[in-house]
């Protein structure tokens, strides 16, 4: 049975008017985890970074792993919303906001991980005061800040007509909630000219965001590849990081889609067809990821350089063999098997694949960062480092993930998670009329 526009509207706006007990419990649990992380951070701030597992020469640990992972996760929104819009994939429309929300809420935790990693966080402004532009760290600060900023604007602008709709139609919500819609709608009137201009700006920003997404993760990779450390100093690092970012982000979108579908009864909007498109996309990304991992390691193997080979052996058969092979299984074997078999019909299996991909991608970031630091090039003959994360790092990591879930959950409680205005036939006709 075909669902009418009115039924869709009711379906999307009803969750914004009531709070279930399950939602309150979820928020409580996430706040509890975040409080634990905050306490761990205070402990770290007071006692210094010695309470973490980081040491000489392993100066980077879980926090930098989280930084790269969260920035990667953030690429889902830009990929689904901007890049797929550029290539005219209309099926992305109902997923776009769910994906963009992942971007907007994960970038702050990525950038925040850098601040957590600083022993003296009050000195972070020195990056701007004394920064030298030859340093990839400054490129990173610039590009990630710009990405965060642009993502928020892109997300907010595409949300604007729907906030105005909430302001006009949700009159029985608490006063503060209505006031929030009124302020955030910025006086949007829904004039045809406003829609035309909005569409123009969003199209322009789509191109800009697509370029930015490439730059940001390449620059994140440059932080590693511009050094001469074994395992890092390779040109493949930038593209590999970018593919990994889109891969983990797309996996996260599948998980978010399934959760939203279940929680808000969006079966008629997020259909099997959408999961099937994502499945095909993820098959391609799995294969591209495999191509890069083979290219990187085969080149290293043929080079037979002493320091490079030491890291290579540590990953394949040494101290990091378990995380390395778990990563490979999670990023390649399990997802591919699921996508080619059970994932064709079952959304549950797609969720499993999405989760497994993200576990694998988090491990990939760990495998890139930590093994190299245990045997850095300059000190390889002098010292061998070890790294074992402490409870402080795990607590803060858990808090970052809880924070991301919390922001996402709160957003879905107060704002329509599927774009309403982009689905409206009247507005589509109006924009089509303008284009022709």
């Amino acid at each position: 049975m075909q669902t009418t526009q009115e039924e869709i509207l009711t379906l999307l706006l009803t969750p914004l008017t009531r709070t279930s007990l399950g939602f309150i419990m979820l928020v409580g649990l996430l706040l509890l985890i975040m409080a634990g992380g905050a306490a761990a951070y205070v402990y770290q701030f007071v006692n210094g970074l010695s309470v973490t597992g980081m040491n000489r020469p392993v100066y980077w640990g879980l926090y930098i792993v989280n930084f790269v992972f969260f920035i990667g996760l953030a690429h889902s929104g830009t990929f689904i919303s901007a890049i797929l819009k550029l290539v005219g994939a209309e099926w992305r429309k109902p997923l776009a906001r769910a994906a963009e929300a992942i971007t907007v809420f994960s970038v702050p935790f990525g950038a925040g991980s850098i601040l957590i990693d600083l022993g003296r966080v009050e000195r972070s402004a020195n990056v701007f005061l004394f920064g030298r532009f030859e340093s990839p760290l400054l490129w990173d600060v610039t590009s990630v800040s710009l990405y965060l900023f642009s993502s928020i604007v892109f997300f907010y602008l595409s949300l604007l007509p729907d906030i105005a709709r909430c302001r006009d139609e949700l009159l029985d919500v608490p006063r503060w909630q209505h006031q929030m819609y009124r302020i955030l709608a910025l006086g949007w009137k829904g004039h045809p000219q406003q829609y035309r201009r909005l569409e123009k700006v969003l199209s322009g920003m789509t191109v800009f965001m697509s370029m930015l997404v490439v730059i940001v993760h390449t620059v994140v990779a440059f932080v590693f590849s511009m050094t001469v450390q074994p395992g890092w100093h390779t040109a493949v690092m930038g593209p590999f990081f970018l593919v990994g970012a889109v891969f983990s982000g797309s996996g996260a979108v599948v998980v978010a889609m399934a959760l939203l579908r279940r929680a808000y009864h969006l079966e008629d909007i997020l259909t099997h067809k959408h999961f099937d498109y994502m499945r095909k996309l993820l098959i391609a990304l799995t294969l591209v990821w495999f191509y890069f991992i083979v290219a990187e390691h085969l080149t290293t193997l043929y080079g037979q350089e002493v320091e490079e080979m030491h890291i290579f052996r540590e990953k394949f058969t040494g101290a990091f063999a378990i995380p390395f092979w778990t990563m490979f299984t999670c990023c390649f074997v399990i997802p591919l098997v699921i996508f080619l078999t059970k994932g064709k019909k079952s959304i549950g299996w797609m969720v499993v694949a999405g989760l497994v991909i993200n576990v694998g991608m988090w491990l990939e970031r760990y495998i890139v960062i930590v093994p190299t630091l245990t045997r850095p090039r300059l000190l390889s003959g002098l010292t061998t480092g070890t790294y074992s994360p402490t409870w402080v790092e795990w607590a803060i990591t858990a808090a970052c993930f809880a924070g991301l879930f919390l922001l996402y959950a709160l957003f879905t409680r107060f704002f329509p998670i599927v774009p309403i205005w982009e689905r409206s036939e009247e507005i589509e006709a109006l924009l089509h009329e303008t284009q022709t």
Binding site: F128, F130, F133, L138, F149, L186, H191
Partner: protein
């Protein structure tokens, strides 16, 4: 100061980064304002101010008299 010096002098990088972010902020602010102004130029000023009726041409001329 030569161009290579600009890249190695402490502080210049921060200025470049700040300039990039401020330019982006100004652009985004301008675009948002432009979107929100859409259609408003078609409205006569008294309607923009929420005047309760639409005036005829003669009334409009009368209201603008002496301005």
């Amino acid at each position: 100061m030569t161009i290579p010096n600009m890249f190695t002098t402490p502080g210049i990088g921060g200025i470049i980064a700040t300039a990039v972010l401020l330019c982006a902020a100004a652009t985004f602010f301008g675009l948002t304002y432009w979107i929100l102004c859409g259609g408003r130029e078609e409205e006569p000023p008294w309607e923009r101010m929420g005047w309760p009726y639409k005036s005829t041409d003669s009334e409009r001329r009368f209201q603008n008299f002496g301005r």
